[in-house]
Subunit: 218 residues, 2 copies
DNA sequence: TATAATTTTTAGTTAAGACTAAATATATAT
DNA sequence: ATATATATTTAGTCTTAACTAAAAATTATA
């Protein structure tokens, strides 16, 4: 069994590995968890003793299979709870993350499996992120950043990269929600801003926005 | 804001006060929380600093209004989650307590109020215990221990005093669930055991059982 | 390659929340 | 009323998970 703090470290390392990095550095973990590098070193030793990470001094850290499975299960819980909050308790997608950060640490296999069933075995959370199965497997769907689409290409909005409240509320305001069809009308060379079509409405969005929206090309 | 440990102490004191005791002793708290008296003294000082209990050395402890409200809110969360687990996730009444012990510490006013609404504003938990309202008010219903009923009296089963798994599973086995009509057929003077009628079936139950079952007389 | 900059680890503190053992206050019994 | 028993508090220790500051290793630069 893992403490709340250990679980948060595991999750942080898991996300960093998914982001593509190979050896996860002490500093990157510290930054992700808003803590100090020395604290990370301490915790890494504990996680290494518990066989969830491989640790070589000065060489960064790597999840073991057990570590990956454990972390994926926490992410599974986080995302299932987010679905619950949005689907059943009328939370909006920008309100769920903080509560899910708490709920993901509740320990009960039955709880999470029954919740999964109650929700109809959802495959994605409210931000379009995939929900790991009971064994920790993630099926990643093919998606591209809106910023990589070319003029006249069209796709469905399937996720966000940044899921901060500010960004999500901005999207709400613009009428951009998951499932919406988006067409690139124009691409400005000067600042990489885009002119897009959503619901017959023409919107102008910055490159920063386009870099945080995932599209499934169609 | 209160830590998990502080919340558990508040809840313990709250329950002890509801049980009728006036000045709650260090030892009784220690026993309820399975901890040592010295640990209790430490924590009581912290709670006193935070204005949730009145503490006079050697004289026991008492909840302030703020303390009562805080504790009642934790109990509210505990019981609403128990309803959720039974009504929505197919838990049985003997499986919910441990999970609710964890869920009661999740901090989100919106979560608990939406959950309340989602559940249809239940007034009692799966064990027949009343659910405090948002202000911490408890409406207690009139109920008697089955052991206090006389021969030929009849009532509805409305709660349990002991809600351990073992007791609850025993009741399930006997077909005694909340809402069942129970009639006292015979009372044995020798050992205070009872012969009762449930669902046309005659059952013989010990005094210990009868002392843990609440009945609303009819 | 030698030096400088950066990253990581180690050593030593701190705070929360538990514990044991000892001291002190209160309650009970002669 | 005094002695004994019980309850409570205090003093000091331990563990977890943070922190700062200093030391050591690695990486980058001249
Ligand atoms: Mn989230
Ligand atoms: Mn999410
Ligand atoms: Mn309970
Ligand atoms: Mn209950």
């Amino acid at each position: 069994m893992f403490t709340l703090s250990e679980e948060n470290y595991l999750k942080a390392i898991y996300h960093l590995e998914l982001d593509g990095t190979k050896g996860i550095s002490t500093n990157s973990i510290a930054e992700k968890l808003q803590t100090k590098a020395s604290s990370v070193t301490d915790m890494i030793k504990k996680l290494s003793d518990k066989k969830v990470v491989i640790y070589k001094k000065y060489k960064g850290v790597k999840l073991t299979d057990l570590g990956k499975k454990t972390a994926a299960n926490i992410v599974r819980k986080h995302r299932l709870w987010e679905v619950f909050l949005v689907e059943k308790l009328n939370f909006s997608w920008d309100e769920v993350h903080e509560v899910a950060e708490q709920l993901e640490h509740i320990k009960s296999a039955k709880l999470i499996n029954q919740l999964d069933e109650f929700l109809g075995f959802p495959t994605h959370d409210p931000h379009g992120d995939p929900i790991p199965d009971n064994e920790g497997n993630l099926k990643t769907i093919e998606k591209s950043l809106l910023s990589t689409l070319h003029k006249n290409e069209t796709g469905i909005c399937v996720g966000v990269d940044d899921s901060s409240s500010e960004f999500l509320q901005f999207l709400d305001k613009k009428g951009i929600v998951l499932g919406k069809k988006i067409t690139v009308l124009e691409k400005e060379n000067f600042d990489d801003s885009l002119s897009i079509l959503v619901d017959e409405k023409k919107l102008s969005i910055s490159n920063k926005i386009a870099n945080n929206l995932y599209i499934k090309k169609s």
